[in-house]
Amino acid sequence: MTMPPMSSVRPPPPRAVPDALSAAADVGPRSDRGRRAYQARTQAAPYLFLLPYFLTCVVFFIYPLCYAAVLAFYHTDGAVRKVFVGWDNFRFVVTDPDFHRALRNTILFTACSIGIQLPLSLGLAMLLNQKTDRLKNIFRLIIFAPNLVGQVFVGILFGMLFAPRFGLFNKLLQALIGWGLEERWLADPVLVMPAIVIASLWLYVGFNMIYFLAALQNVDQSLVDAAKIDGAGPWQTFLNVTVPAIAPVATFVLVTSTIGSFQLFELPYTLLQNNNSGFGPDNSGLTIVGYLYRQAFESGDLGTGAAVGWLLTCIILVVSLVQIKLASKVGSER
């Protein structure tokens, strides 16, 4: 057996190759071809495995996204025809009072969602992170369970709970504070948004709690102990040890909750389904996605729907970037 000249021996491939195979690759021209084929296969493998996802992504995400961008400049009433209208769809949307209402409602919901839901989730996570509580696993399950049923179920359920005179929520309020038996949560424009927030709290507090719980369990206990030895109280320990430790998870929860809140649709749609206009009296439960749905699928104007979709994408992008920037700034200051 002739050994190949040293100059023909290539440097080892960048990926780890089992020793036995590596040795076998160094034994002659035929083996060299085999090695190159093996290398090609090895290098192609990740792309082959990614191909189905990539194709799916192109067909169901990239293409619709690009098509929606084109469609946003067309008037598409009717099943068959479309006519180029330039920026008219965007102009209509930004001047439409219903869109303004939807934007206000969505921002209000997002603010409530972030301002109430996240602190509540964190508080519950801290309570359930106590080592002494034997029932914590049961409580975790109970608090997380609403998330298993989904928004449609919650919408229908709370539609019954909020019924005037007969709804359990109204009866409970009446029993506790002597008010609320005949309150029309889903028919009074002032009460519709609180009703949606209450239903969403029930649904999502447990979900975000799980993230916070996981983050709290990863807080370095030695740092907490060191802080205690240094004389830090519970509040100081929380602010200076726990918060920095959970900051990445908190940022993630903040951003995903914000995006989720801006995309709110199913909950108000099902909660207010008995309302003939779909999203509550005076559009008090209308969200941006609800507005998009109404334009695209109730009015049949896919062009305007696409324009709303792109506006929503821009809004979410800006808000998320601002949040991430702020979070990283706060994190670096700490």
Binding site: Y38, D77, P97, N276, S277, D282, E298
Partner: protein, 470 residues
């Protein structure tokens, strides 16, 4: 031979191949359509009634018909999507009231349902039906679906409690009188617990469909037959002002009992004494609240002015034929059999309590039978009102108008709650005018509706004639 990337990727690949095979095979099975006609409806009650009648039709025509039940919203959105992308559509489809609007946004030629106008008129069927019902299924003068029903609307009430309270329903001939008596009912607290025992009427808090129903009773639909918005018509202002006073403030006499179980419970408890009851709702109530058998009554709607119309209409079903349906002649034959065969309509009335629009069918004996639950002949109760049911023209912007009207209603209602009657009329008028303008603005954006209606109608008629000729 060993798979070069290891066992796990091999397993994933095999799984993918098997899954793809299963999908392909099941897709192939789905596409096999052994049925000659596919008929889609959104109500189980209709489907059950049609299923009973189908075997005779199938035997007589040597064909197979499949009836599918699809939730109403899913039916609308799936059909709309299928028509937009050219996917499979059923041969016949029942549409709910208002849903025609989704399909008539474009030019008349682009409506994906067959234009039935000429066929209906040349066959003489048009004149045999309650002609006002065609307005629900028309666009720009062309008819795109067959009316299934008339749906005259009355008030259903708790006969026993109303009698106990000494109310004579025969004297409740106008809405003002009804409201006056209602206010007396609401002020009485028989059990002394501080909460109201009985409300006179079930009224949705946001106006909703009842606002439309009451305006229709005055003869003013949201759109006229030419497609003009009428929300700012005086009749709407009058109805809105009357309505908000019944649901807000100290003089209110109505309660929003809601739907389904909530309404049933409100009626069982006597919390609400009267509710709006088109023919279809009589059967719903029989199913939902059998315990009230013999305790319920029906009366015509009180009139807006003494001697004026005592009914209105709520809801509708229409049978449309997608243009890409497979066997139109057979589908038409089935439609005539199910919808307008008097021998079918008598027994079906007993199953559904729904009055068909074919006037000659009303003489069938079933329309005189006494209903066990209501203890009256529902046929003889609803038939005298049928010809007085007002037309309610369909429009592509129906749901936009509903939404805008609801907005105006809520604002007027809030004004009344905060400021009382002073200035209410001006506020109601202003809000309705604004709503009407917003609807008009959206309509003006639709360049496909800008083409003169006459031209579109002529074009559609020519297309239909060519189709009939083929």
């Amino acid at each position: 031979m060993e798979f070069p990337y290891g066992r796990a990727p091999l397993g994933i690949m095999l799984l993918a191949i098997v899954a793809a095979g299963v999908v392909l095979l099941s897709g192939g099975t789905k596409n096999d359509q052994p049925f000659d006609l596919i008929f889609v409806t959104f109500t189980k009650e209709h489907a059950a009634a049609y299923q009973k009648a189908l075997p005779a039709f199938e035997a007589a025509n040597n064909c197979r018909v499949q009836i599918q039940v699809v939730d109403d919203r899913a039916l609308q959105s799936r059909l709309q999507s299928a028509m937009q992308v050219g996917a499979d559509v059923p041969d016949m489809v029942e549409l709910q009231d208002g849903f025609m609007s989704f399909f008539t946004k474009g030019m008349l030629d682009d409506v994906q349902f067959r234009d039935l106008t000429d066929r209906l008129k040349s066959s003489g069927l048009y004149d045999q039906l309650v002609t006002n019902r065609f307005s629900k299924w028309s666009s720009r003068g062309r008819i795109f679906a067959l009316p299934h029903d008339v749906h005259p609307t009355m008030l259903a009430y708790r006969k026993d409690i109303v009698q106990q309270l000494g109310i004579d329903v025969n004297k409740l001939t106008t809405w003002d009188e009804f409201a006056r008596v209602g206010r007396e009912v609401v002020t009485k607290d028989h059990d002394g617990d501080g909460t109201i025992d009985h409300y006179m009427l079930d009224l949705p808090i946001d106006g909703d469909v009842v606002m439309q129903l009451l305006a229709l009773q005055r003869g003013v639909p949201m759109f006229d037959a030419d497609g003009n918005v009428q929300l700012d018509n005086d009749a709407f202002v009058d109805v809105m002002c009357w309505y908000v006073k019944q649901i807000q403030g100290k003089d209110r006499m109505a309660f929003p009992a809601g739907w389904g179980q909530n309404l049933s419970q409100a009626m069982i408890d006597g919390l609400v004494l009267f509710y709006f009851c088109p023919d279809w709702r009589t059967m719903q109530f029989e199913f939902d609240v059998p315990s009230l058998k013999g305790k319920m009554g029906l009366m015509p709607l009180p009139a807006w002015e003494p001697g004026s119309r005592r009914t209105s209409t709520w809801g509708a079903t229409g049978l449309a034929f997608p243009k890409r349906g497979r066997n139109f002649e057979l589908a038409w034959k089935l439609a005539m059999y199910l919808y307008y065969d008097p021998a079918q309509l008598g027994p079906r009335f007993l199953q559904t309590n729904i009055l068909p629009p074919l006037k000659s069918a009303w003489t069938q004996p079933q329309f005189s039978e006494v209903d066990d639950f209501w203890q009256i002949s529902l046929g003889q109760t609803f038939i005298p009102l049928a010809n007085d049911v007002p037309p309610a023209p369909s429009n592509a912007y129906h749901y936009t108008a509903v939404n805008k009207m609801s907005k105006a209603f809520t604002r007027a209602s809030r004004y009344y709650a905060e400021h009382g009657e002073q200035g209410l009329r001006e506020v109601a008028r202003r809000e309705l005018q604004q709503s009407a303008e917003e609807v008009r603005a959206e309509m003006r954006r639709n360049i496909f509706l800008q083409e003169p209606a006459a031209k579109q109608t002529a074009s559609a008629a020519a297309a239909t004639s060519a189709e009939v000729g083929r």
